[in-house]
């Protein structure tokens, strides 16, 4: 149950009527069992494509290059049938919107029984017992009754707990949490973060946590990957990224986080401009158009990923060793 | 907003190039269009196309199998089957287009009244539409035929009376949706005459979907006419109808199966042609409209 994850030079392109969209470009990522990996970035930076690629949810018009090594197997090259068998067994996903994540006309228990389809060694009653225990563990009281509820009868926070329980039931080596708190209100968010922090201590697989909420990332993660324009611009240990960010984009992002301001500001800071067009990405640095430290080569030459002594990786011409 | 509404609003109209090109781009729709045109020609020029008068009886040559003189053979009274089928196209299409036109007009008028008129009138009309819609169509048709007797006029009346509620409901729904749109509200605030709003704004926007629905109902009407004529409750003999041709063939199905075989062909081809053409129209104009039910 404990395998390491090594994503190498992963690119995803979509064929659309308006042209080819380079949704993900040359992404490298490493994770060891027990680690929590954070992925941050604005909307449209490639986070969801990356999650879809890990969770085998890419649409049929997606073209994938590179490798997703998991426990020594390349998931990209795996035949579709065996790839599917890993889903919900080795790899589990907690998806974004708990309101719509469950089938509205089937009971929660019924769906969670189905999700354990890999466990052919267990009977239905046994599966339901496991569900009850797991629901209890994620903090749902009266699990027997909740199992017979339909999704719309549960609150948003409770549904997200159920979603986490569903993922944990499969005992995955790789747990992907795609914006698990975005759709929740602040108190619910705090509860779910608390729950994830608790699970983190007991769980020995890899957790990939995607969020645009920097606080959540800082709270839960060991390593952080900052994504922009379909690329990883900076990666490093959580303290390094938050305390000594090297890439101008990371700095700008941190400067915009309202939670980090000590005093009330007239205007919240923003990063001027919009993310690049992924149909025709710029030849140089993807952040060049919005960067405050831009200089000549940024527009023409694509920056290589530089490994810094602190374990940082940054794609920026302005960063010097 | 649908492509239909846009097309009507920009006054590009219906019969122009884009629509025809869209229809012709799908080979199936193109084939359907050809079939429909062939049947329309048949109906229009029946007396010139048919080799014999459709009611000319020749008992000496009854139930003749297909030959050089009679391509499809003759029926139990020695009438030329091909001629009867060609003239049957005229009967079928007269009734189909006639009843669809009547039902469409009545539905359009009542739908506009229900959607735009006073609330109480809307309530009454909706009850009428729902009541008529909740009747099994053929049962209702049979009841009216009991009263009015058979004949072309009765058929048109019966079919129109049973089908206008669905058109009226479509028009009503569209009118209600448009009535509360901003630009109609603006017109009303400027004290525009209700008739002006009705004719200038509502009418052009609601006819598009109506025409698609009407075109999709033509094969249903063809089937109802043929079915009722098959039962002896449609057009009066000796007027040739595909339904009565089938019935004549049905009575001699063992001795002369070719009458049934040829008699059923125009029905199969015409309903297929009109259905696929209607599908093509819907797909290229307003794909959200509902699917046709089987006949």
């Amino acid at each position: 149950m404990s395998a390491s994850l090594a994503v190498r030079d992963l690119s995803v392109r979509y064929q659309t009527p308006r042209g080819e969209v380079h949704a993900l470009r040359h992404v490298d990522l490493d994770a060891e069992p027990g680690q929590v990996i954070g992925i941050v970035g604005e909307s449209g930076c490639g986070k969801s494509t990356f999650v879809s690629a890990l969770a085998n949810l890419l649409p049929p018009n997606a073209m994938v290059e590179g490798a997703i090594g998991y426990g020594g197997t390349d998931l990209v090259g795996l035949d579709p049938c065996r790839r599917r068998m890993l889903q919900g067994n080795e790899i589990a996903l907690v998806s974004q919107d708990p309101m719509t994540a469950f089938n509205p006309v089937l009971t929660v228990g019924d769906q969670l029984v189905d999700f354990q389809h890999h466990r052919s060694d267990l009977g239905r009653a046994e599966k339901r017992r496991r569900i009850a225990a797991m629901l209890e563990r994620v903090g749902i009281s009266d699990p027997e009754r909740r199992m017979n509820s339909y999704p719309h009868e549960l609150s948003g926070g409770m549904r997200q707990r159920v979603a986490i329980a569903a993922a944990l039931l499969t005992d995955p080596g790789l747990l992907i949490a795609d914006e698990p708190t975005t759709a929740l209100d602040v108190t619910m968010e705090a509860q779910i973060v608390h729950l994830l922090a608790e699970l983190r201590r007991e769980y020995n697989g890899i957790i990939v946590l995607v969020s645009h909420h920097l606080g959540v990332i800082a709270e839960l993660c060991d390593r952080v990957y900052v994504m922009y324009g379909g690329e990883v611009l900076e990666a490093g240990d959580v303290e390094e990224i938050f305390d000594r960010p090297r890439h101008p984009y990371t700095r700008a992002l941190l400067a915009c986080d309202p939670a980090r301001f000590d005093e009330r500001l007239e205007r919240l800071p923003t990063i001027p401009g919009a993310p690049p067009n992924l149909i025709d990405p710029p030849p140089g640095c993807s952040f060049a158009a919005r960067c405050s430290r831009v200089f000549a080569p940024c527009h023409t030459t694509h920056p290589a990923a530089k490994v810094l002594p602190t374990g940082h990786v940054a794609r920026c011409h302005a960063v010097v060793l | 907003m649908s492509f239909v509404a846009e097309a009507v609003q920009t006054r590009r109209g219906w019969g122009h190039f884009p629509l025809l090109r869209a229809l012709a781009s799908n080979p199936v729709t193109l084939a359907a269009l050809v079939i429909v045109i062939v049947f329309l020609m048949m109906a229009a020029f029946a007396p010139w196309l048919a080799p014999y008068p459709p009611t000319k009886i020749d008992v000496l040559h009854k139930l003749q199998p297909p030959s050089a003189e009679h391509w499809f053979g003759t029926d139990h009274l020695g009438r030329d089957l091909l001629s009867r089928i060609i003239h049957g196209a005229r009967t079928a299409l007269t009734i189909a287009i006639g009843s669809v036109a009547v039902a469409g007009s009545v539905g359009l008028l009542l739908g506009l009244i229900a959607g735009y008129g006073p609330r109480w009138l809307d309530g009454v009309l909706v009850l009428v539409f729902d009541s008529l819609n909740s009747l099994p169509m053929i049962m209702f048709a049979l009841a009216i035929i009991t009263v009015l007797g058979t004949g072309t006029g009765t058929l048109i009346f019966v079919i129109a009376a049973t089908s206008f509620p669905s058109y009226a409901r479509l028009i009503r729904a569209q009118t209600l949706a448009l009535k509360n749109s901003d630009y109609i509200l603006a017109e009303r605030l400027m004290d525009a005459h209700p008739l002006r709003i009705l004719l200038v704004h509502l009418l052009p926007n609601v006819v598009g979907p109506l025409i698609i629905l009407l075109s999709m109902d033509i094969p249903v009407v063809i089937m109802v006419e043929a079915g009722l004529s098959f039962l002896g409750l449609g057009v009066r003999p000796p007027t040739p109808s595909w339904g009565s041709i089938l019935y004549d063939g049905y009575t001699s199905i063992r001795s002369a199966p070719f009458v049934v075989i040829f008699g059923g062909l125009p029905l199969v081809l015409a309903t297929l042609g009109f259905t696929f053409l209607g599908e093509g129209l819907r797909d290229s104009l307003d794909p959200r409209l509902k699917l046709r039910r089987p006949a």
Binding site: P104, V105 | L135, V147
Partner: protein
């Protein structure tokens, strides 16, 4: 849920009343004397008067309507003008045969149509999907009684595999089932196509919803995602359309029964129309409309049962 049911049933009764009043009024308001039409122009005045009395046409219209409804409520639908048998007895004889035909046709269409629709979704975008789509439209288009006549010609007349006419021997289930096969297939064929298309259309909508993505992320096999997770939702609109369509099936039954000479409701009402047998026509139309309205209401309630979201709206 209960108030909803009561409301729907109330509306159904209202519609039924409205329809019968309208029809009754139509019969008597339209010019032409039904007795003359029925007996032909050469009938004697005595005969005519007798028929008018027997039909109850000598009473004022409103009296006839009230009379008809009062009798109908007690199960008395009047008497056959020619044979003098009670109309209710005639209907009770014919109805089971028609209902058997309609229900068997609908069941056949569902059993075959739903899996075909699912197959279309599983193989979406492929040749299989396109072919199913075209075939579906094709079988929807062709009138059921033409299918009936062709299948009669092929399977009963040419190959003699199945009986050509009748509803089978009384008490012999085997022969009754054999007599049902051709009429059922004639009616079901178009409905197979219709149901397949409906299932495909509503399922394609469901397939884009996030919960399908969740099911995928757990690696559920495609047939299970389509056949359980999507179908459970997609079947709801399909059921309402199918139920409304049962009225259409009963209409097709009129023609198909004529082709196979099945002594059902279709034959009963066709003969009655041909002989201007008003009480039989009225009684049959009333019963068939009542059945049709009941089915529509039942479908609405069934939908409320199937969709827990709707169920809660009506419970609250």
């Amino acid at each position: 849920m209960l108030t909803y049911a009561v409301k729907r049933i109330g509306l159904g009764v209202l519609i039924l009343t409205f329809v019968m009043v309208a029809m009754y009024a139509a019969v008597f308001l339209i010019p032409g004397d039904p007795a003359t039409v029925a007996l032909g122009p050469r009938a004697t005045p005595e005969l005519k008067r007798m028929l008018i009395e027997r039909m109850g046409l000598d009473q004022p219209v409103w009296r006839q309507i009230i009379e008809f409804f009062r009798n109908a409520l007690t199960g008395n639908l009047g008497y056959d003008v020619w044979s003098n048998r009670p109309v209710s007895a005639l209907i009770m004889e014919a109805l089971p045969k028609t209902l058997a035909l309609g229900i068997a046709a609908l069941a056949t269409a569902l059993i075959i149509g739903v899996p075909i629709g699912c197959l279309s979704v599983i193989r979406r975008g492929t040749v299989v999907d396109t072919a199913i789509g075209m075939l579906s439209v094709g079988v929807i288009a062709v009138p059921s009684f033409v299918v009936a006549i062709y299948s009669l010609l092929i399977f009963a007349v040419t190959f003699r595999w199945l009986p050509a006419i009748g509803a089978g021997e009384a008490g012999d289930i085997g022969s009754q089932v054999r007599a049902l096969i051709l009429p059922v297939m004639a009616i079901a064929l178009g409905w197979i196509g219709y149901i397949a298309r409906m299932v495909r259309a509503s399922m394609m909508e469901v397939m884009g919803e996030p919960h399908i993505r969740t099911a995928r992320s757990f690696g559920l096999p495609e047939w299970k995602i389509v056949g359980k997770y999507a179908l459970r939702i997609a079947i709801i609109p399909t059921i309402s359309l199918v139920a409304v369509g049962l009225g259409g099936i009963l209409s097709s039954a009129v023609f198909v029964e004529a082709v196979f000479a099945r002594p059902g409701i279709g034959k009963l009402i066709t003969d009655a129309v041909n002989t201007r047998n008003y009480p039989v026509v009225m009684g049959t139309v009333l019963v068939m409309t009542a059945i049709y309205v009941t089915i529509t209401i039942a479908a609405d309630l069934l939908i409320a049962r199937l969709d827990p979201r709707v169920r809660d709206v009506f419970r609250g």
